[in-house]
């Protein structure tokens, strides 16, 4: 964390989110180009999603304790914190991916447009078509680039005028079209790691979601590929609400509008570590003037 001092100071020059990747940008990874210059209300005014008193258990293990967190429309919300603090667990609750873990139990509410997605009668499959997800490791299917994009619309039975147009639109949306337009029929495994991750983002936006969840989307990528994905995230912010879990604090500082800091608290009797939300605020505030001591310790590298 040698660049913490850079992060803590507000950016002098900030690129706008829509700036395409340029070589100049690649050379200045330390630039903080977050939504700092965006003037956002202190509290998200019309949250697209909101966690209310969210508790998650894996069997008898209490993984996340009482998380209350709103996610603002067309904002990037970063969830940061040390390993085992429950941030990925919270993320996976937001589109009910935790349903797939048989021992997982969720209490509390996750509101999506004021509808609790954990309410009775809510179809998790339908939830996931509105709330897409991008994973830590690029996970394209062992199919062609075209079929990777077309897979989501096909399985969900989406009404599509022409699939070719949808594929092109999704790939353009993920800033990948120019690189792959001549090899749409080739295997997605032939792409580089960064391209694969952008393909996964394209695949997600092809199903026209409202919210995109990203679980450490750049942790398997090199710095250049990371920069491109981050640029893409800031472009996507105009059309989608993005919630990102990251281990990389500089990344949170660079791209996010708001940051939620989680930590883990050991249980006094069992010693199991339960994750909880410590502080949630504008990213600029979190990284310059956090109100909680634990946040300050973490972002300054004294802990975690």
């Amino acid at each position: 964390m040698k660049e913490t001092s850079d992060m803590a100071t507000p950016p002098a020059t900030a690129t706008t989110g829509a700036t395409p990747v340029t070589n100049a940008h690649l050379g200045s990874l330390a630039d903080v180009s977050s939504g700092a210059e965006r003037h956002l209300p202190v509290v998200p005014e019309s949250p697209v999603m909101e966690a209310r008193d969210l508790n998650v258990f894996y069997g008898g293990f209490h993984a996340v304790h009482d998380v209350n967190l709103p996610y603002g429309r067309n904002e990037i919300t970063a969830m940061i914190g040390p390993s085992g603090c429950g941030k990925s667990t919270v993320l996976r609750c937001l589109n009910r991916m935790n349903d797939l873990v048989t021992s997982a139990r969720v209490e509390g509410q996750v509101l999506y447009h004021d509808q609790d997605i954990y309410a009775k009668g809510v179809d998790p499959i339908a939830v996931r078509t509105h709330i897409g997800m991008v994973f830590q490791k690029p996970n394209p299917f062992p199919k062609s680039i075209y079929d990777n994009i077309a897979y989501g619309p096909r399985v969900t039975g989406m009404k599509v005028d022409t699939m070719d147009d949808l594929v092109e639109e999704a790939l353009r949306g993920a800033a990948l079209w120019d690189e792959v337009k001549d090899k749409l029929k080739q295997s997605a495994y032939g792409l580089s790691g960064g391209q694969q991750q952008r393909l996964c983002i394209a695949r997600t936006i092809a199903t026209k979601p409202d919210v995109i969840l990203m679980d450490e989307p750049c942790s398997a990528l090199d710095p250049i590929a990371t920069a491109r994905v981050e640029d893409l995230m800031m472009t996507l912010r105009d059309d989608y609400t993005i919630i990102v879990v990251t281990h990389n604090m500089q990344q949170a500082a660079r791209v996010s509008d708001r940051t939620a800091f989680f930590t883990a608290r050991p249980d006094e009797t069992t010693g199991n570590r339960t994750g909880l939300l410590v502080e949630f605020d504008l990213t600029t505030k979190i990284f310059s003037n956090p109100s909680d001591k634990r946040t300050e310790d973490y972002i300054s590298g004294r802990f975690g």
């Binding site: 021992s103 078509t129 997800m133 994973f135 996970n139 394209p140 062992p142 897979y151 399985v155 969900t156």
Partner: protein
């Protein structure tokens, strides 16, 4: 002379002793034992094959494959009925066992909650089933055929049923391994796009697991092709003089013919049996080679 140089020379003296502890008496004896074990296994196998080849050599001709077995003219006895019978058995065994085995494995691996005691019970018993003597499956097949109302059991269906039951546990276990090897991320990626578990299994998991499933299935079949015991119980004839013509046609199989001919007193028939053994070996090795080919060709790394 510097201290460093002195030390270096001392170390050299200590290290360069001119002998290696790996060449000590104990090590050499142990190595010898290992060599002997390897030698013993290979030599016995080689001797068996070579003696069979030598015995059967006079009979490696076209008639061996095209003629029926005849006691009247043993010098031109062939194994047409046995070879065709074995192939038919393989075909129907695969038709019975593969869909059942894959479906069972997919249920256990992708849908069943492995914490439930019932599923745990099934899993443990699958492992046990793979070790059940093949003759037991023959008896089971006879019982099933009787329940289904067939009065003759020495037919393609009866034999295939016995062999299918025999290799079903093998197919289930290898399919589960292949399905388990498909990374979690692949499923998550599909599910996160709004696919159902069923779509994910059918469109992502299963296609990715096919090379592994094919390998396991072929190895299972190559075990089944050499089995005689369950076929004896089912009541396959040791010799027929017509080609199989359907599921209900009476047949024989190569292992059955070999079994009956090796106990004959006439030299020509025993010779023919040796030649048939080689035919059977070639078929088994061919299947194994196919399995290895598929495994290497389609092996995927994630």
């Amino acid at each position: 002379m510097s201290i460093a140089a002195t030390t270096a020379r001392e170390v050299t003296e200590r290290l360069a002793t001119g002998r290696s502890k790996d060449r000590g008496v104990g090590s050499m004896v142990f190595l010898g034992l290992l060599w002997f074990s390897l030698f013993f296994g290979v030599v016995v196998l080689l001797a068996l094959i070579v003696s069979t080849v030598i015995k059967g050599a006079p009979r490696f001709d076209g008639e061996l494959l095209t003629n029926y077995t005849s006691v009247v003219r043993p010098e031109t006895a062939g194994f047409r009925a046995g070879i065709l019978g074995s192939l038919w058995l393989m075909l129907f065994t695969a038709l019975l066992a593969v869909p059942l085995g894959i479906a069972a494995a997919l249920y256990l691996q992708e849908f069943a909650d492995s914490d439930r005691p019932w599923n745990r019970f099934v899993e443990v018993n699958l492992q046990n089933l793979a070790a059940v003597p093949s003759i037991v499956y023959g008896l089971l097949a006879v019982a099933v055929m009787a329940l289904l109302g067939f009065d003759r059991t020495g037919i393609v269906l009866g034999g295939a049923l016995a062999l299918a039951l025999l290799i079903l546990p093998v197919i289930i276990i290898t399919t589960r391994e292949a399905v388990r090897a498909v990374p979690r991320e692949m499923r998550d990626g599909s599910l996160a796009l709004g696919a159902t578990v069923w779509q994910t299994t059918w469109k992502q998991t299963l296609p990715s697991a096919i090379p592994g499933i094919a390998t396991g299935t072929i190895l299972g079949l190559s075990r089944a092709i050499g089995e005689a015991a369950p076929l004896v119980v089912v009541g396959l004839a040791s010799s027929v003089t017509f080609d199989p013509a359907g599921m209900l046609s009476q047949i024989t199989a190569l292992p059955m013919q070999i079994y009956s001919l090796t106990s004959q007193s006439r030299e020509e028939l025993r010779q023919a049996a040796s030649a048939a053994i080689i035919v059977l070996l070639v078929m088994v090795l061919g299947l194994n080679a196919l399995a290895i080919f598929i495994r290497n060709k389609f092996q995927r790394s994630w």
